[in-house]
């Protein structure tokens, strides 16, 4: 069976929303500072899963965000939040790894999806790059702000926004070289995903700017 490439991307897109909601719910349940109730865990899972895309769609101003106009996103976020809540106390090392893996795939794809929509809307390459990063990192950042924290991408030392920037940059460069759009998408998504996975595997960290 051959899966057409756009079906594959749709699948990863949906998987990414599910994984982000799952991860967001687990993080909220395990939070040591606040004891979130059902509303809190669901709200933070939704923010993590849908926040990046909503911010992207608000900036592009092409009508209501996809998360509101296509109910499948909401249903997947809801499912991820529910599964996360049920299994948060049971999730072990392997679950965490699986979530990090799907999250890395979503990071690459969300970054490219953000840049693609920016280019389709006629924006320049630099804004397209920024929108890719905002799409990939926006959900997690919104969740962090709603938890009363500074976004982890700013101070955690994780190669996260940088992986998104790398994926988006590869896509934008390929696209401006007039490569086939699905090839550019694949290249960008794989590069973002790959850098994130390598950073996790070898524990690469950024350094604080202050010496």
């Amino acid at each position: 069976m051959v899966l057409p490439i756009d079906k594959l991307f749709s699948l990863i897109d949906f998987l990414g929303v599910f994984a982000a909601a799952l991860g967001g719910a687990i993080a909220a349940v395990r939070d040591t500072r606040y004891k979130y109730d059902l509303v809190g865990v669901t709200g933070l899972a939704f923010a993590a899963a849908l926040g990046g895309g909503i911010i992207r769609d608000l900036i592009l101003q092409h009508g209501p965000p996809l998360a509101f106009s296509d109910s499948r996103y909401l249903l997947l976020a809801l499912a991820g939040a529910a599964v996360g809540m049920l299994f948060a106390n049971r999730a072990g090392k392997y679950t965490d790894r699986a979530i990090a893996f799907v999250d890395a795939a979503a990071l690459g794809l969300f970054a490219v999806a953000g840049s693609t929509r920016a280019i389709n809307a006629g924006l320049g390459r630099l804004p397209a790059l920024l929108l890719g990063i905002v799409t990939a990192a926006g959900g997690g950042s919104l969740r962090d702000v709603l938890s009363g924290r500074t976004p982890k991408i700013f101070e955690g030392g994780q190669i996260y926004a940088i992986a998104a920037a790398f994926g988006a940059a590869v896509f934008v460069i390929c696209d401006s070289l007039h490569l086939d759009r699905s090839m550019s998408t694949l290249a960008g998504a794989l590069c973002g995903f790959g850098l994130r996975v390598l950073a996790l595997r070898f524990d690469w960290k950024t350094r604080p700017v202050r010496r």
Copy 2:
């Protein structure tokens, strides 16, 4: 004298904005962590009063938010903030109860108003439900984030977002059964209001998800 139902809703809508600004200003003046100046108290009162509607209108993308295009909202928020500042130190138990009561009425109506606009914009039932919750709970959440806190609806244990969800759900269900729109509005607003008032009266609380 008979008050037509849409006039009544307009009145509650305006009262809700006034009450939210009043409550926001009082909370800001009494804040024990920060000592807000005039700008801070007014800013937080505005966020509480207008934030939910602004977020709703940004998501629906139907031109500038109502809070900016209809000056009455701004004037009412300003009046609420001013009255709140003047009476914050004198407000006692009865004032607090009156604010909580008007706030509960506004919660029910804002939830239904959010869902109504979503359905009018052609969104599905599930997004309409979510937008109702966001409209009702968005203002208070924005105020909390601007005060450097995690939104109270996430961790306070209050039946707040759940009451909004209940009111919005009743409205969406009535509406999808093709009931008269003003009947559906009334039913949804009363259900949201009623659950909130009952939760306050009998001190119903949610439990943290973590066991």
Copy 3:
């Protein structure tokens, strides 16, 4: 050589974005609570430089924000962030003063620019005033929220939002008296700038509302 007035405003607008990014980057590097990495410093500098205009453009809903549709804004923010990072540890009293001075000029101009766009979009005078304040103070506030703080304009005691309100009010009043648009702009921008500089020079502070 005579510089036409709209060129001058464009110049201050760009200088303001550069200065805000520079100041944002320096503040992020010097932050004592968090140790920001490259992504954090750049992100906070971008928020400070572009946040106010992005919030303004989202509210006005006239297509993608200027910060995304005109690449010069992004490039200037990037340049400001880079220079800020390089010189943060070397910046002394004179640099801080120069940044505060350009920032005050940007405050006056951003306030007037926000009100101008609101009036051009057909909004009333009161919303135009509010949008002027939001444009001038939004970037710094977004940066503060992303740093896990309550916005400085709310509790710092600084005459900041008040200076923006003063500049925007002077502009809106002049404009509603049908004065020449560029005269109104000049008057508003100078009044906002002037009040801010005087407040810094003579250390004027607001008082907390609570007695």
